[in-house]
Assembly symmetry: C2
Homo-oligomer: 318 residues x 2
């Protein structure tokens, strides 16, 4: 049996696992990314953990390689570049660094990297809701809005490995300021931070009653807004409505480009479930170019959140 190591590097945690060819994670660990401001220290710890993980493999000679999903991970260059939410800054040639460190430990393993959204997309394609689907878009609604786009059964990396930034398509000219330096990006509206911005702005607009006024400002987030919306709080429902509408416009525009069969949502805010999906689907139909209407399936990820990324990263070795 073949095995593969999958690593999901996030701003807070790095989760990794040993995956067999039946897509079973047979051993799993995590370390705190944010505890390692220096990439060298981080990789030293990671290699120590990988050695331990390999020691749990029934047939270590059958390990195909190491796959990594990371924010701003570049498939072509093997780098992590200017990732705003990771402690290590600049351009990190992580593929070469990790291959070298593993070789020093006697393990000649190929390292492959892609960005976190693409890794999740590959996980979804091989094991999840996109199994057998040749054309789909996976959207991750987390702190930001990530995306992975598969067309003709292949991940679209683009000429430079950075394709799939639906979260940074402009949905409103001169709209909200985005962390990327522009205005009106989808993720300023339809991410966990986006819905919080909507809530804070609506709360300041007038004095209409809302459950959210009883919550400390720091605790107003996707989760508490959804909770309030489920109790029919008018202001919280407005937040969901704007989130869904902007998301639908951004997704409808991406559909016009690649015409996917399925849209799959994952990430924290997708846990809102039908509360978000029902208005999203209605707005999507309204905003789709007519030829695409009534054709597109919208689903939540079928995989556990951390597992999708580990499985997707592991699948990079195939």
């Amino acid at each position: 049996m073949n095995y593969s190591i999958g690593i999901d590097i996030g701003g807070t945690n790095t989760c990794f696992g040993l995956v067999n060819e039946n897509a079973e994670i047979i051993f799993q660990r995590e370390i705190k990314t944010k505890n390692f401001p220096e990439i060298e220290d981080y990789l030293t710890e990671l290699v120590k953990q990988i050695k331990d993980l390999i020691s749990h493999c029934p047939e270590p000679e059958n390990i195909l390689g190491v796959g990594i999903g990371a924010p701003n991970g570049n498939y072509y260059k093997g780098t992590i570049e200017l990732a705003p939410n990771l402690p290590f800054k600049g351009i990190i040639p992580i593929k070469n660094m990790l291959e070298m460190l593993l070789l020093n430990e006697g393990w000649n393993l190929k390292v492959t990297i892609t960005n976190d959204a693409n890794a999740a997309g590959i996980g979804e394609m091989i094991y999840g809701a996109a199994k057998g689907v040749n054309d789909f878009i996976m959207i991750t609604l987390g702190t930001g809005v990530g995306s992975a786009i598969v067309s003709n059964g292949k991940m679209i990396y683009g000429h430079d490995g950075f394709a799939g930034e639906v979260g940074h398509t402009i949905v409103e000219i001169d709209g909200r300021e985005c962390g990327c330096g522009r205005k009106g990006c989808l993720e300023t509206y339809s991410s966990a931070t986006g819905i919080r911005r909507t809530a804070l702005s609506l709360l300041k607009q007038d004095n209409s009653p809302s459950i959210l006024r009883e919550i400390e400002e720091k605790d107003i987030n996707g989760y508490t807004i959804c909770e309030a919306a489920r109790k029919n709080d008018a202001l919280a429902l407005k937040c969901i409505d704007l989130t869904a509408r902007m998301l639908a416009i951004g997704v409808a525009n991406a559909v016009a480009v690649t015409s996917p069969k399925k849209i799959i949502f994952s990430g924290g805010l997708s846990k809102a479930g039908d509360l978000l999906l029902t208005p999203f689907k209605a707005y999507l139909e309204e905003n789709l170019y007519p030829v695409f209407r009534g054709k597109i399936e919208v689903e939540l990820s079928a995989l556990e959140e951390n597992n999708t990324a580990i499985l997707g990263a592991a699948a990079l070795n195939y």
Copy 2:
């Protein structure tokens, strides 16, 4: 030597040619599409012309097939579907109809169809400005805004064959009414009809002097607006500016999805050349997600307009 027949079906004319494997059009003709309200009459005439064209082929036994580019042509289904600018309405199974008619004449030729923008994109990829480029977007600025998107060296058709509608991405929420029934589509701003709308609207806004006031309303079009702009007419320059800005936002959004190396423009309005491309490039850089800045080449099609589509359609047979 192999030969291929390429047909470019437009609302006004149908151009077709016999193309050899060196991409030379060795015989070329056209018929008036709009003279044939019934598809049967149209195809009867087309088959007559194809027979004549075949009679000009030095080795008719080496004709590989017939390729067609047509508005709303569907590569997977072999149909033309609900094309607003063609005389024949509904869903036309043109592939099967034409194969049958040719067979009746003793010619067993395979017919392949795609939409006109995709055919032009294939022409550009095989013979033109996108030769050797694996990731590009071709934008046709005509009556509407068409597009063809190539990723990993393959045309993106999407799950249903209708991908590549950058002209129908929404660039302005609740913006101009579009022929497709929605509002704010790119083509309502940045097509030949879009720039005319801009001019008419600016002319009505106030009484500022403009060369365009001396022209009959029916003659205000992409060509006359560009002519006025070249004479530094302030109102005409405003039209160009809005056209370029909206186009840049739509293209920047498509870039965020597929990360192309090149953007190639063709079509009547692209003849504005640097008058349009210079502001477009500036707005594009401004509106690109930072990771894509400074990387993307913008070019005009290197092929003659009609030829691109005929060559692209012919290339469908390879």
